[in-house]
């Protein structure tokens, strides 16, 4: 039973897909960067995103609740708090859980990552308000009005999310390709040991990677929570995290433009499934894409498979 869709309907759905894709892309970038340098799936990344959303909530509803701040400025403050807080958290995770395991087998590291993820989810419940679940007030979102383009409607917030994402990604792109630290990062991701021998401080590179990846996830969490205004729980990042991971794999893990493309494709696929009336299978779609891509092209769309004996 396919829902009949008009052209406007499709275009409209396309816009929703892009907005969702922007958020996925922000999370996927963190996955892909960390995997690039450490060859580690940082399962806790989705939870960093969750913390970002919570930080945004606490900033506007608790810490600055009594202060009269101009709404646009408030959004900027929320974004900065989320990014900084998440960067710090990412740093801590790397320092405490992953660094001591640098030379351990990969499975142990993977299990540690799952452990860290579980820890943030449940220990988070001790500190974050979960019952009743909080949600960011509508009044915080000053961009909730619509822009009319013919018969299409685009929420201003969607546009803002998109623009912010693009700006952040451009900054990241500049950082990775044009700065010394970015070059070091690429060197480490290319060959960990050689890079270390060449005098690159691998630890520093990894720290920076976690810092940037987590900050991006925090930004994603803040923007999603603000524009959608959903009730938050500590499991808020579980599914987006998994889906962003799929996006990263789709684009070829370790590949930055690939992650963005993968995120867009993922979001489009999900939106398409919903648009065609099979919304009840949405969560399965992400994994079906994942399994499909891994079977057909294990390296992802832009990745290459190399194997050494």
């Amino acid at each position: 039973m396919l829902a009949t869709l008009s052209f406007e309907g499709l275009a409209q759905q396309f816009i929703y897909g892009i907005q969702l894709g922007a958020i996925y892309a922000l999370i996927a970038l963190g996955y892909t960067m960390v995997y690039g340098v450490l060859k580690l799936i940082n399962f806790a990344h989705g939870d960093v995103y969750m913390v970002g959303a919570y930080l945004a909530y606490y900033t506007c509803s608790v810490w600055l609740a009594g202060v009269a701040v101009e709404p646009h400025l408030m959004l900027v403050i929320m974004l900065l708090v989320s990014m900084c807080g998440c960067a710090l958290l990412g740093l801590l995770i790397e320092r405490i859980a992953y660094r001591p395991l640098r030379s351990a087998p990969r499975i142990s590291v993977l299990i540690t990552a799952i452990g860290v993820s579980l820890f943030i989810e449940y220990a988070g419940k001790l500190f974050f308000q979960t019952s009743p679940q909080p949600s960011i007030k509508e009044s915080v979102n000053v961009f909730k009005d619509q822009i009319h383009l013919g018969r299409l409607e685009i929420a201003q917030s969607a546009l803002i999310v998109l623009i912010t994402t693009v700006v952040l990604m451009c900054l990241l792109w500049y950082f990775v390709t044009r700065t010394a630290m970015g070059r070091a990062m690429r060197a480490v991701s290319h060959d960990f040991n050689t890079a270390a021998l060449m005098g690159i401080s691998v630890d520093k590179v990894i720290t920076i990677t976690f810092l940037i990846g987590s900050a991006l996830a925090g930004a994603g969490g803040m923007m999603q929570a603000t524009s959608v205004g959903t009730p938050l729980s500590t499991f808020y990042g579980l599914m987006p995290g998994v889906k962003a991971f799929v996006a990263a794999v789709l684009g070829g893990i370790g590949n930055i433009p690939g992650a963005v493309t993968g995120a867009m494709i993922m979001a489009m696929a999900e939106t398409a499934v919903k648009a065609f009336g099979y919304s009840n299978y949405t969560d399965a779609v992400a994994f079906i894409i994942l399994i499909g891509i891994l079977l057909l092209r294990p390296g992802g769309l832009f990745g290459a498979v190399t194997e050494k004996v």
Binding site: I107, L110, I114, F119, Y122, A123, L126, I288, L290, P298
Partner: protein, 485 residues
């Protein structure tokens, strides 16, 4: 060495004798199961039965997952999916075809078990296929995805127009089996657990088992040695899935209904935790971890909320203590030869304390299963403490651990009351309490991370449980101390 043991067994038993032994042991198993069913079960309450059932089911699930994760080294996180397929196949077959007058219950159960095992094995085959091209973390996420796809699909099979093939599995509510079809018994699950363990143990006793192990150790080398890694990896998935499917059938027929919400990612995570904690590749480790984690989960289900202050005091002390230990100073002091007497006293006192706690436990109103389990833990502690009487030379690892926990708790109690008096903390924390469930999961997670940091092969490592192993493992500390001295 398992292989030497196998060789010896071969010499000891000619094939005539072998069959005798085999038949006797099967008869013994059936006998114990019958004795259990007819002598013990009637005296048990439904809760005691439930505890045993849960523990045994999860033990067998952990053992079957261990075959995939631990023995073959394929990291699967979708075991709940296989469990679910078995449960749903069994439940659906029974709901549709079960007739009390058609055949005796045990025969029907056996038929349904075959159905569930076949379906799960088929799923295992399908899931095993990606493992040909994927390794490690990629495989993990694919299997995780498989479990989730399965849950979503089953969730939508309510016979409505959005379900595939119009299949009716009760949707998100439950597949409610007809009354009278709860035909699974405690004894069946017991026999099944024994069979699961036996299959895995047998495999590891023969060259076939080595083929699985070699894939875990080095896939390329295994392939170059003539082992068709594809075939063996898929086989591991098929066997593991079939066993999980049977567990699902038995559990479904004990519960009388199945619902997709009982087979979520959490179950897969819990199973992985069991295998990892128990020791990847260790059957006994997986089984023991399965039983103890499930019982622990159950015993901690309704624990009252924990005051935040107490928890924080314990955490602070633990971190400080760990920091001091890490500097090595305290460790050396604790293990100094001159302090042997102190150590023995501390060890024995801790043991006495545990004994006292177990004694108290026996006098509270609690399920007999918990009492027995706690007593066994006590016996384990005692054995560990006295393993090769190394307390005199150095504290055994396990004793070290228990003593550390005891010390942390002892210090944190006065600290907690001191915390209460601090005005700043009073303002920050106040009378906040934490949900025991969250604290428990946070502890599980921490324990998982710490296990990985300290002993990445899990508690049992690649070893099987044996008393000499216990001694060796817990007494390890003394050897290293001797070596360094």
């Amino acid at each position: 060495m398992p292989l030497e043991a196998a060789a010896l067994t071969h010499q000891r038993f000619s094939s005539g004798k072998f069959w005798l032994v085999r038949i006797v042991s099967i008869a013994l198993l059936v006998g114990i199961a019958c004795l259990f069913q007819f002598a013990a079960v009637p005296h048990m309450g439904i809760y005691d039965k439930r505890l045993l059932i849960s523990a045994m089911t999860f033990a067998s699930l952990a053992v079957s997952l261990n075959l995939i994760n631990g023995v073959t080294g394929q990291f699967s996180m979708g075991h709940a999916g296989f469990y679910m397929i078995g449960a749903y196949t069994g439940a659906k077959l029974t709901t549709t075809f079960y007739d009390r007058h058609l055949m005796p219950d045990y025969a029907w159960l056996l038929a349904v078990i075959c159905g569930g095992a076949v379906m799960s094995a088929f799923a295992g085959f399908i899931v095993g296929l990606p493992s040909l091209r994927l390794r490690g973390d990629y495989l993990a996420i694919v299997t995780l995805g498989f479990g989730e796809i399965l849950r979503v699909v089953v969730n939508n099979q309510d016979g409505g127009d959005k379900s595939l093939f119009g299949l009716n599995l009760g949707g998100s509510y439950a597949l409610d089996m007809p009354r009278g079809s709860r035909i699974s018994e405690l004894a069946y699950i017991f026999v099944f657990l024994v069979i699961t363990i036996a299959i895995c143990r047998n495999l590891l006793k023969t060259a076939h088992g080595l083929a699985f192990l070699s894939i875990r150790e080095d896939e390329t080398a295994a392939e170059a040695t003539g082992i068709n890694t594809t075939k063996f990896k898929v086989t591991a998935f098929v066997i593991g899935a079939a066993l999980a499917g049977i567990a699902g059938v038995l559990m479904a027929h004990y519960n009388g209904s199945v619902t997709p919400n009982d087979y979520t990612m959490d179950v897969s995570f819990l199973l992985v935790t069991m295998v990892v904690m128990g020791g990847t590749g260790s059957i006994t480790g997986a089984a023991l971890a399965g039983i103890s984690l499930k019982l622990l989960e159950e015993s901690l289900r309704s624990v009252p909320d924990i005051p935040a202050v107490n928890l924080w005091a314990a955490v602070v002390v633990a971190i400080l203590f760990a920091a001091v230990l890490k500097r090595g100073g305290l460790g050396r002091v604790l293990n100094a030869p001159a302090l042997a007497v102190v150590r023995i006293v501390i060890a024995e006192l801790t043991l006495l304390l545990i004994a006292y706690m177990v004694f108290k436990l026996w006098h509270t109103q609690m399920s007999i299963v918990f009492k027995v389990a706690a007593s066994l833990v006590f016996l384990g502690c005692a054995a560990a403490f006295h393993a090769r009487d190394n307390v005199r030379k150095a504290l055994p690892t396990f004793g070290y651990l228990v003593t550390c926990v005891a010390v942390v708790l002892l210090i944190s109690i006065p600290l907690a009351s001191a915390f209460h008096k601090l005005p700043l903390l009073q303002k920050l924390i106040g009378d906040t309490t934490y949900k025991a469930t969250d604290v428990r999961w946070a502890f599980f997670a921490t324990a998982l991370v710490i296990t990985m940091l300290v002993r990445s092969q899990g508690l049992f490592g690649h070893h099987e449980f044996s008393w000499s192993f216990l001694g060796r493992s817990f007494g390890k500390r003394s050897e290293t101390v001797e070596a360094s001295a």
